[in-house]
Symmetry: C2
Subunit: 93 residues, 2 copies
């Protein structure tokens, strides 16, 4: 179910790195070099496959911009926040 604007804002306040990015929620992550960046993208891909929910991922050398959205609902859902939280957790491992 689509979250409303207030629900999204409340959840974003508890989710470091993430903010509204157009209609999606998005985050940017920076690494020391390209191989480290690619390793992170692979871990994000594993999380996405496990959740069967796939973000848009853009790689700019040592930066990754991730954008999460529920196309089937044309909005932001709990699924998007679960994916975003799991991506954040990768940084703590």
């Amino acid at each position: 179910m689509r979250l409303n604007k207030k629900e999204i804002e409340n959840k974003l306040r508890q989710l470091p790195n993430w903010q509204m990015q157009g209609k999606a929620i998005g985050a940017e992550f920076q690494f020391s070099d390209f191989p480290e960046t690619i390793r992170f993208v692979n871990r994000v891909a594993d999380v996405a496959e496990a959740l069967n929910h796939h973000p848009d991922i853009c790689i700019y050398y040592n930066r990754v911009v991730i954008s999460v959205y529920t196309h089937s609902e044309d909005g932001i859902t709990e699924k998007d926040f679960t994916l975003a939280e799991q991506i954040n957790q990768l940084l703590q491992q």
Copy 2:
């Protein structure tokens, strides 16, 4: 050394999939699913590391949009076409 517009156009004619994409040369590749897409991105990353020339890579589920540009020259160079050709070769392997 930066290639001029005519040189770039001539080279693009011999390079399937690639076209001007803003100031860069770019291509879009489509796969059957997300894991296959990620495998392709990893092979592109290996090529990029070997050439020490890194494209921008955007992943949209089963599509990859690649953009190649020589920032140090603020233009398109032979290096960009070498990278683009090697990316195309991955599809034939």
